[in-house]
């Protein structure tokens, strides 16, 4: 091939002494292939062009080249598309248009006129593009378009025929709510953006598309409400996303790790969710969402500590119910971090803090347990984590086996065998149940990691260690920032106005203002004085 000459020169320059033999396309590495395709141009010969296509695709079985004759002069042409990512109905329609409609039109031989007639009059696809670049044609073809090559023309017509199987919209299994919408994101950015559009029906919801991963070329879109989200935030998000230069993005987690403020923290600084209502709630607060192709998980940022303890139900149920379940979570989360550490600290260092009867009972049950409390606690907490991890990845049919093994065999038998004491089992179980209340998976895992740290602190220096741990944890939380926003607001810094929607949720008509620090360019959410009142005077009274 002619173009390979170009590459031979580059490679000799690049690699100096060690000369690689490049005789065909097959000798090129992946990035060189990409560069090579970029500078390829269409020639006038149809069979040449088709040969190049098959060279690049390497006879992949889904590559389909349909040869046809078009127009009154019966010019040779070929429609190239990938089976599976293109819509068969749309492709058939193009073929029909080319073979039948085109006959009814008068065609000249002049190049522009033929291509123009076809694009203007014969084809009626959503988008039709004419291109002479192989790179563009190939990019479109791989995402489902069909390309029409015509003998004697060094340009091809690309028709949008995208159509492939995606998962149906379902309720996300990992984020269940009792009350609230039942739809969840899927793996397609366009479907996901439609879920947002259905809920925010104004043109000011802006969706900007990026392409990420030099090999995966996945669609990534950032969504925000123009005029509400602060411009600095949008610019910051864009600049951080544009800075990413990787070969592949398989999940939004990749992006999260590249754009997070603090890489080493156990706490997630960006929230991810499968629920469109959560994303919309964030957008309406002036936040920015990142939709990633190939995954149902959408990122919302900036995120604060309290965001992770909010569940959609808090807002959908009436405020006393919402506040109650929110408060439960705020109590349960610290329990899931501190309880085993405090228990071990008290038993090992300050048994005098426990009333004497209770202490005697605990001491009696610990009779015969060969380990110190700290070892016992580590053992049981570790066992529980292993059980939990095992349960997640098991097929559902075997899942019940895990609960039998876990509950009956390990729980009962560990006590019977004298490996653990019943109070310890109670503590570990209580901690586990408390940790299940965390609405966000990653945030829950942060608590699980910290639990072991506090277990260690409590077991080595008692309550003083716990206090030290709390202080260090507080320093860490107060020092964290997510896209410039203090992570631990509204507690540190104290923002009284936002306290209305943190530990408790105040009624909707009192939540007049958006979150103060994140709240974007228009802080007021609604009019004041919308508290419902009984009618002053009824008609006819």
């Amino acid at each position: 091939m002619k173009c390979l000459e170009f590459f031979k020169k580059i490679l000799t320059k690049k690699e100096g002494k060690e000369q690689r033999v490049v005789n065909s396309l097959e000798d090129l590495n992946i990035s060189e292939r990409e560069d090579f395709v970029k500078q390829m141009k269409l020639g006038p010969g149809l069979s040449d062009n088709l040969q190049k296509i098959t060279d690049i695709f390497g006879n992949s079985f889904d590559l389909n080249i349909r040869k046809i004759k078009i127009g009154t002069q019966q010019i040779d042409a070929a429609l190239v598309f990938l089976v599976g990512v293109s819509d068969p109905v749309a492709v058939e329609k193009i073929l029909r248009d080319l073979q039948i409609s085109l006959l009814e039109l008068q065609l000249n031989d002049e190049a522009d006129l033929l291509i123009e007639t076809i694009t203007r009059q014969a084809l009626n696809n959503k988008t039709v593009v004419v291109s002479a670049q192989f790179s563009e044609i190939l990019k479109k073809t791989t995402t489902g378009s069909a390309a029409l090559f015509i003998e004697g023309y060094s340009r091809a017509i690309i028709c949008e025929t995208r159509g492939y199987e995606t998962r149906n919209i379902q309720e996300p299994e990992a984020e269940i709510s009792i009350r609230g919408p039942r739809d969840g994101f899927v793996e397609n950015v366009f479907t996901n953006s439609s879920l947002l559009r259905q809920r925010i029906r104004i043109p000011h919801l802006w969706l900007q598309k990026f392409e990420m991963g030099s090999l995966t070329k996945i669609n990534v879109a950032i969504a925000y409400i123009k005029g509400l989200a602060s411009e600095e935030l949008i610019d910051e998000v864009k600049s951080r996303i544009e800075r990413i230069d990787v070969d592949s993005i398989l999940e939004s987690g990749y992006i999260q790790e590249y754009i997070s403020d603090e890489a080493m923290s156990v706490f997630p600084l960006i929230k991810r969710t499968e629920r469109p209502d959560k994303v919309v709630f964030g957008l309406l607060e002036g936040k920015v969402a990142i939709l990633t192709g190939g995954t149902p998980f959408v990122l919302i940022l900036p995120a604060t500590f309290e965001d992770f303890l909010k569940a959609p139900d808090d807002y959908y149920e009436t405020f006393p119910i919402g506040s109650f379940i929110r408060l439960l979570r705020y109590i349960a989360y610290p329990i899931s971090i501190f309880l085993p550490g405090i228990y071990v600290g008290i038993i090992e260092f300050h048994p005098e803090l426990i009333p004497i009867d209770l202490l005697l009972r605990i001491a009696a049950t610990r009779e015969g347990v060969p380990f110190p409390v700290i070892v016992e606690a580590f053992l049981m907490a570790f066992l529980f984590e292993v059980l939990r991890e095992a349960g997640i990845r098991l097929p559902k049919a075997i899942g019940s086996a895990i609960s039998i093994v876990g509950a009956l065999i390990l729980g009962e038998a560990a006590i019977d065998a004298g490996l653990a004491s019943p109070p310890m089992i109670v503590i570990v179980a209580l901690t586990a149940i408390a940790s299940f209340t965390t609405p966000d998976f990653a945030f829950g895992i942060a608590a699980r990691i910290l639990r072991f740290v506090f277990l260690f602190l409590g077991g080595s220096i008692g309550l003083f260690g716990i206090q030290f741990g709390i202080l260090i944890l507080l320093i860490h939380l107060c020092a964290l920032r997510s896209f410039g926003q203090p992570y631990f607001q509204p507690f540190g810094p104290l923002v009284l106005q936002d306290m209305k929607d943190s530990i408790a949720r105040f009624p909707w008509w009192s939540l007049i203002f958006r979150s103060k620090l994140v709240g974007g360019r228009e802080p007021q959410r609604q009019k004041k004085g919308q508290k419902p009142r009984p009618p002053v005077k009824r008609k006819g009274e």
Binding site: F464, P493, L494
Partner: protein, 367 residues
């Protein structure tokens, strides 16, 4: 470098926590002298006495809203005299926090962790404070926000729990021994106002330095209101004699009461809130010390001084006093009052004099 600022609210919390901690720990009106059942009157006297000093310190600080005390004492007294003079403040920050840490460590050692070496506990407290100050004054302010709420909750518990055993007869007879004991009781707590010199460092770091006077005076007033309350309750529940004998009256107080069978040991509450308060005051002193010292040495960033300073503080806290009795001795009015008051009155007088002189001469020059 980003300029770090704290809100005046956060300064309020910092001052409140600092000042309340020493009260929780020590209740100096009762323990330092012989005021006995009139200790709460000493507390009221302290309230008035301290407000005057706070006003003078804060007023001076607001005259130089963008300068720390290290900088403006050089401005007022001249370069070398000012430089030498400002060492007094650095020494003060060091010593006050060292005393704080040592007291807390002693309590933990005697009450809770008898087998732990004191240097370990001191080290851990200073380590936490150093990590905090390393993150900057903003983070310290935010932690003050969080801890203030916890502190107030615990304080309410501490005050409410013993109320059931309050005996008004313990407070009588009121004021029979005249002003002598009352004033002696107020001496040490008033001398402790020298803590407020941190205002000289913190004022330029606040968002609105002009409002610092109000911030400082209300914070001081609130913490002393708590002193009065705690003094009354301690005397009312324990007898004045028992309260005065105790090294840590509030701990004794909480130990003496038992609400129900299950809640026997409420002193954990006191220890925890004291620990949090101590953390705040040590961090504030460490920040003030490091910031001040970095300006004294003309270093841009105070952070490089932190860790060496922290090490010195740990050894000062461990080696500075032989035992808890040496500390007690130190807080006797006869020793601490002249010392503390000298550190309060002498610099105040000098700086104010220099300020007034400078202003009058400056004006005459202008005319």
């Amino acid at each position: 470098m980003r300029i770090e600022k704290i809100a005046n609210r956060q300064l309020w919390f910092l001052l409140f926590l600092m000042r309340s901690t020493i009260i929780l720990a020590y209740l100096p009106v009762l323990t330092s002298a012989d005021a006995l059942q009139d200790a709460w009157i000493s507390a009221i006297v302290t309230l008035f006495g301290s407000q005057i000093f706070i006003l003078l310190i804060a007023l001076l600080a607001t005259k130089f809203p963008d300068k720390t005390i290290i900088q403006y004492s050089q401005l007022l007294l001249g370069y070398w005299p000012g430089k030498l003079f400002s060492l007094v403040f650095l020494w003060l920050f060091l010593q006050l926090s060292v005393v704080d840490i040592r007291i807390y460590s002693e309590v933990l050692i005697t009450g809770f962790l008898p087998h732990t070496p004191i240097i370990f506990i001191t080290g851990i407290m200073v380590f936490a404070a150093t990590v905090c100050v390393q993150q900057g004054i903003e983070v310290l302010g935010r932690i003050a926000d969080v801890l203030f709420i916890l502190f107030v909750f615990m304080l309410v518990g501490v005050v409410l729990v013993p109320l059931g055993e309050f005996d008004i007869h313990n407070l009588q007879p009121v004021f029979v021994r005249g002003w002598g004991p009352v004033l002696r009781g107020a001496l040490t707590p008033v001398a402790l106002i020298s803590q407020a010199w941190v205002l000289g460092i913190l004022t330029p770091a606040t968002l609105s330095p002009k409002k610092v006077i109000k911030t400082a005076m209300t914070a001081e007033g609130a913490s002393l209101a708590i002193l009065i309350l705690v003094a009354i309750i301690t005397i009312g529940v324990l007898s004045p004699q028992e309260g005065a004998r105790a090294t840590f009256p509030l701990l004794t107080l909480i130990r003496s009461v038992q609400i129900t069978y299950f809640l026997q040991r409420m002193e954990v509450l006191v220890i925890f809130s004291w620990g949090f308060g101590l953390f705040i005051s040590v961090s504030t002193f460490l920040y003030s010390g490091a910031k001040g010292f970095s300006q004294w040495l003309k270093i841009e960033d105070y952070r490089i001084l932190l860790w060496p300073m922290a090490v010195i503080w740990v050894f000062m806290a461990v080696g500075g006093f032989k035992d808890i009795f040496a500390l007690n001795e130190f807080f006797q009015p006869a020793i601490f009052a002249p010392y503390g008051l000298a550190l309060l009155i002498f610099p105040l007088a000098l700086l104010w004099l220099a300020y007034l002189l400078r202003n009058t001469t400056g004006r005459s020059k202008g005319d």
